[in-house]
């Protein structure tokens, strides 16, 4: 089991795969294995950081976790008080009711909100879809979440295009919170923001998880960001989770050579590095997701690759309590 969390799970992904088939005019069809049998669970009030390079499948996994992308294999289970439901089997009204609990915050606040709408409308319309029509009630709910995301209520009458990137991202968090979510996927939610604003948004996300008991899957390519915000970290490579554990375990005691390389590549504030070239213990670049290497998918780039790695796929094994890795070194 991809355990490691002691909390009650809100969303469980079991052996999820997402394959895309590219239709070509001539020649054979190509299958892109964006996610290839990944299991992750997120508990209530827990933040799980999902880290990997672009092309590792982290965004596709995030989309599958909230039902935006239908998995081609495996199950996505959402836990309600009444019990677990497989969100892939839901249809019609029951799906619509469910989906307001499963929300996503996108990377780019400049393209995820219509710039020509007034802020109040951006927030009011999703509520309308849920049947909240009373304007006074809407205003009450909005001012409540605005306090949480640190926006003054006087921006409500502004147009979205008048807002800065940091303010827009706060609006998109507010929009999500109004729908009473139980699970949020934050897909590179702070990557586009300036350092000075990043901290604030990360703080907001952290209090949302702890105060509202919302589970958050926090997708990022920055190890340092994952480190400060996450309770647990999962590292993805070419569609698979290759290492998972508490933030301290993964950052303090990384097991997989890929995790080690990502950590070596993380920038640090150090003017003394000026004269030295930094070494990262990994070869080449991430291969295309339509041509996965055999065996351990990381072996062509791995500095420790052995004969075994070329043909045999390593299983995700628990090395210490809650710390899992899929690598033949262990």
């Amino acid at each position: 089991m991809p355990a490691g969390s002691t909390r009650t799970p809100v969303v469980q992904l079991e052996n999820v795969s997402v394959y895309f088939t590219k239709k070509k005019l001539l020649g054979p069809q190509a299958t892109v294995k964006a996610v290839d049998g990944a299991s992750i669970q997120v508990g209530r009030g827990e933040i799980v950081g999902l880290v990997g390079e672009s092309g590792s499948g982290k965004t596709t996994l995030g989309r599958a976790a909230i039902g935006l992308q239908k998995p081609t294999g495996g199950k996505v289970l959402f836990s309600k008080e009444e019990g677990q439901v497989d969100i892939g089997t839901l249809k019609g009204r029951s799906w619509r009711q469910m989906r307001s609990h499963l929300q996503i915050i996108f990377q780019d606040p400049f393209s995820s909100i219509d710039p020509n709408m007034r802020v109040f409308d951006v927030l009011r319309i999703p509520l309308l879809a849920r049947g909240v029509k009373d304007r006074r009630k809407v205003e009450g709910m909005v001012s409540d979440v605005f306090g949480r995301v640190g926006l003054p209520t006087d921006v409500l009458s502004s147009f979205v295009f008048q807002l800065s990137g940091g303010q827009r991202q706060r609006v998109s968090i507010a929009r999500v919170l109004l729908l009473d979510p139980e699970f949020i996927v934050a897909d590179e939610a702070v990557s586009m923001l300036d350092v000075s604003l990043k901290g604030d948004i990360l703080k907001i996300m952290k209090t949302i998880a702890s105060d509202l008991h919302v589970g958050i899957l926090f997708i990022t390519h920055e190890m340092a960001v994952a480190r400060v915000i996450s309770d647990r970290i999962a590292v993805m490579y070419l569609g698979n989770v290759v290492e998972m554990g508490s933030a301290d375990q993964v950052v303090g005691h990384p097991l997989h050579p890929y995790t080690q390389a990502l950590l070596q590549a993380s920038p640090t504030i150090d003017p003394s590095l000026r004269e030295v070239l930094r070494t990262v213990n990994v070869k080449g670049e991430i291969p295309s997701s339509s041509a996965h290497p055999s065996g351990c998918k990381f072996h062509p780039r791995c500095p420790f690759a052995m004969d075994k790695c070329t043909d045999n796929v390593p299983e995700l094994k628990e090395i210490e309590e809650g710390h899992l890795v899929s690598c033949w070194l262990y």
Partner: protein, 312 residues
Amino acid sequence: MMLSVEDLRVYFSSPRGDVKALDGVDLQVSEGEVVGLAGESGCGKSTLSLAISRLIYPPGRIESGKILFQGNDILKMGPNEFRAGYRWKKIAMIFQGSMNGFTPVFTIGEQIEEVLEIHQYAGDFASRTKDLMKMVELDPVIAERYPHELSGGQKQRAFIAMALAVDPPFLIADEPTTALDVVTQVNIMNLLKRLRKEKGISILIITHDLALLSEIVDRAYILYAGRMAELGTAEQIFKEPKHPYTQGLIGSIPTLQSTKIEGIAGFMPDLANLPPGCKFAQRCPYAMQVCGKEEPLLKETKEGQRVACWLY
């Protein structure tokens, strides 16, 4: 002195009045020096790189100031003089997302050779292209490929090769690694470090990523709301920052060593409607009465370090 920007003001006209993207900015780059320019988005840092490349077009305008390149004011030159003698020949640029600057219908090699042709390179084009590819650690075979066949990191390297085609003494790198993966990012930074060491090229790096900057620059400038907040050597800026804004910026960089989350509260003021006094006062934890009234000027606090703040 390679480059000296003196009291530069660049304004953009808008219905709300002039947006003062740069309002009296000085910046120097010596020969062989790597200088960093950092600040939040909207602080004017890209405007400065565009001004040095003479790429400010209406509604933008250079209100006043000088940009001396090797002693000659490039703002006084005619467009043809600048294009023929300076742009790409002496001042090369890598812009944010410039890896998408290749046209998809020609091979990388053809595009590099076009640069050589336009700038009347004397030697053999094919062997020069091969040398350039080797210099940026790319297999020369890649010159025969089309841009879509390359990964993001390879394209960025190829673009750097193109920028260095006619051996410019000065390179502007505006967000050279944004949108690249961390591992690729380290490789590009290593490449820039090597170029500076082997070719003695001067580089102005513009980025919002201070951690990245700290690993390569000799000196750094911190820009806020179109004005310099602080400047100094890398050690001074990153180890003993004086301006509360610089301190806040450095404190808010997430690092692997800390689990604390910091940030600077509030937002940058509207550049078309700037408050009186220090532009950072509204967000500053140490703001005093004088800060809201009078604007602080850059003062030397240590040799090489200058800060615009009433605390000093």
